[in-house]
């Protein structure tokens, strides 16, 4: 027994079956349109929102690791709260910012259960900064997942603690000015420096490769919790074209050019080794240059 559940076979009437994604006769189906652990494919989020992609990665990680029947979710307050009603896991709805403490109480009383929080940047990095830092420092055996779009999406596009310099929000119409509005917090770097944190990563969902890599980060975070190695944390940078005041299709590009250059993708702490966002940026720049050079030479050789 590997402890892993097999991929679900499409069955008539199951979520995803018969939907356009199932394809015509003879087509090879490579995945369900709706993740197994969602009760419905419907949600109330805006077109172009990145949060459903992140939630899919999260739920697929739980499914993949065979944790479906032993997981308790704790949800914060933000746009993603609509998934509280559609996620097919036992769930406690917490207040804005307070999910890590609620998750702590659950985990301490049910150490056999996998516990995660789902929070936005306003929830975790503004309102609840001390909660997540203290929880990480305690080495609480939970996983905190941050959906970071650099804006209060639910209130309609206001500045958060992760809004990057120059980013336009409803209360920084000319762009966030560090001289007046301060600097964005790189929450992953703060957490990585705490001894209680065992795994810290920052993913993104602005292109398919990033989605796949973020899925691996989420799996690794839950594996860390299963192993009892310490606190685990995954930040997922997500698109919010509505809150960024850009056309829907421009969301991924805007993410790459603005938030993505500050909240850089990569693993910030693995097996005790810390890499700062600065180091990740340098690595990404180097890898990008190598990729461009290889493409200029006519292609990338298989290793």
């Amino acid at each position: 027994m590997t402890g892993r559940e097999p991929p679900p076979a499409p069955t008539p009437g199951a979520p995803g079956a018969g939907e356009p994604g199932a394809g015509p006769p003879g087509a090879r189906r490579i995945g369900t349109a709706v993740p197994d652990l969602l009760l419905t494919g419907e949600h109330h989020l805006c077109p172009g929102c990145g949060e459903p992609l992140a939630v899919r990665g999260l739920l697929e990680a739980i499914r993949h690791l065979g944790l479906t029947r032993r997981t308790i979710a704790v949800a914060g307050i933000g746009c993603y709260t609509s998934f509280s009603m559609t996620t097919d896991l036992d769930l406690v709805q917490a207040l804005h910012g307070r999910a890590p403490s609620v998750a702590t109480g659950i985990k301490r009383m049910r150490p056999d259960v996998i516990v995660y929080t789902l929070q936005g940047d306003g929830d975790m990095v503004n309102e609840g900064l001390q909660e997540v830092l203290h929880t990480a420092a305690r080495g609480e055996l939970i996983t905190c997942v941050l959906l970071n779009n650099g804006v209060f999406g639910e209130t309609g596009g206001h500045m958060t603690a992760t809004t990057v310099a120059g980013q336009r929000t409803k209360n920084t119409l000319e762009g966030r000015d560090p001289a007046r509005d301060g600097h964005p917090i790189l929450i992953g770097d703060l957490i990585a420096r705490l001894d209680g944190a065992a795994y810290v990563a920052r993913g993104s969902v602005h292109h398919p490769g990033a989605v796949a890599r973020t899925g691996r980060m989420l799996r690794r975070a839950f594996e860390t919790q299963v192993a009892g190695a310490g606190f685990s944390f995954v930040e997922v940078v997500t698109m919010c074209p509505t809150g960024w005041f850009v056309p829907t299709l421009d969301g991924p590009g805007y993410l790459q050019e603005t938030l993505g250059t500050v909240h850089v993708m990569g693993e910030l702490k693995v097996d005790g080794r810390i890499r700062t966002t600065e180091e990740l940026r340098a690595e990404n720049t180097r890898a990008d240059a190598e990729m461009r050079a290889a493409l200029a030479r006519g292609g990338i050789e298989e290793p």
Partner: protein, 387 residues
């Protein structure tokens, strides 16, 4: 002395203490021991005088019974941790002083709406947190049951009762004590361990993931898609209706000497013990004076209080605050008799402990002044007061 309380008998809810099982302990220790005997297995708190010792006792004792005590980094986190523990079905508690409870109020309100049975211990600095305790502890239309023990023995009974009431109603219960209660040593019996807590099918344990029957515990009135969900307005109305039911069922009061009294004194918590003694002395001297003690501050025993003071020509209200309990007393009496304040703000130099007003002689002199329709005598160190 009469004890009146609609519904169940308070004494029946707690085992009668036997002299053989008594042990000398301070109020904080007695509360922690009573909580553990009642099945409490989770506590989270943040040190603050005079609440600190309660946290110390839980930190020492809970691990010995397989429980957990979290040293929270703030009151915000303490109440959040207790929220999560209660959601798993465990008997869970938190607490602080009035200052700390101010920080917890957002969560305490939402815990009420989430219908979680949480017990909170308010070990206050004096009695200036009456409005805080009885006006819902935060935002929205929420109220907590508030028990106000007069001494350590009753604190033990109230602690055990608090966990039972919290589970019975799926509603938070507050035990409101003070510096005197927390730090006074008395010979007290905790009694045997209570029965196991009732089953809680609503509690989350993670086992229903992927079944289509997974649970949600939410203050927002939302259910999972495909399951009946009241929506936020109906949910809040249902909570209000439940609170009305609690108000009708759980009001408790104690009174004495009211049958022939022309003056009745109202007091709650540990100061009521001093008032009771002062009234006994005045009655011995032939004065027709009685006393009333609300045992629950919410629900406030308004009807029973009005009945107890029905024959009185005047009501005096003794509380260690600028005047908070007196609002509820006046609402209960509804103008049938004048209600005069005879307490006031009174602390020691630290602001935590007992001030000069908490003195049976001082209280008796003030009661007598009201009884004779005279001005209140000055306090000992006020101009004109006794040296």
């Amino acid at each position: 002395m009469n004890a009146a309380r609609p519904g169940a008998d308070l004494a029946a809810a707690t085992p009668a203490p036997g002299p053989a099982t008594r042990r000398l302990m301070e109020g904080s220790e007695a509360i922690a021991e009573a909580a553990i005997a009642a099945g409490c297995r989770f506590f989270a708190g943040y040190p603050m005088t005079p609440f600190t010792e309660l946290l110390e006792h839980f930190a020492r004792r809970l691990p010995t019974v397989g429980g957990v005590c979290c040293n929270a980094e703030s009151e915000l986190e303490a109440v959040g941790m207790a929220w999560g523990a209660a959601a798993t079905g465990a008997r869970a508690a938190t607490g602080s002083t009035g200052q700390g409870l101010s920080l917890m109020e957002e969560s305490l309100s939402e815990i009420t709406l989430a219908e979680l049975p949480l017990v909170t211990f308010l070990l206050a600095r004096g009695q200036q947190d009456y409005h805080q305790a009885t006006r819902g502890l935060g935002h929205g239309d929420t109220r907590h049951v508030v028990l106000a023990p007069i001494d350590t023995h009753e604190a033990v009974a109230h602690t055990r009762l608090a966990f039972d009431l919290a589970d019975r109603w799926r509603h938070p219960v507050l035990v409101y004590g003070d510096y005197l209660l927390a730090h006074t040593r008395e010979a007290v019996a905790i009694g045997p361990d209570g029965p196991p807590p009732p089953p809680k099918p609503w509690a989350v344990d993670g086992s229903l993931g992927g079944t289509g029957r997974s649970r949600i515990i939410s203050p927002l009135g939302f259910g999972k898609v495909g399951h009946p969900s009241p929506g936020i307005e109906a949910h809040q109305r249902a909570i209000a209706a439940k609170q009305a039911e609690i108000a009708a069922a759980e009001a408790r009061i104690e009174y004495g000497g009211c049958d022939d009294a022309t003056t009745v004194v109202v007091a709650y918590g540990t100061p009521a013990r001093f008032v009771r003694a002062a009234v006994a002395e005045l009655r011995d001297a032939g004065h027709r004076i009685g006393w009333v003690r609300p045992v629950t501050l919410w629900p406030f025993p308004a009807a029973a209080l009005a009945a107890a003071v029905a024959g009185a020509r005047r009501v005096a209200c003794f509380e260690l605050s600028a005047g908070q309990l007196i609002d509820d007393v006046r609402l209960a009496v509804l103008g049938a008799a004048p209600v005069r304040p005879i307490g006031g703000i009174s602390t020691d130099g630290s602001g935590f402990g007992v001030g000069r007003l908490l003195d049976t002689e001082v209280i008796a002199a003030r009661i007598l002044a009201v009884h004779r329709d005279e001005d209140l005598p000055p306090l000992p160190d006020e101009p004109g007061g006794a040296p």
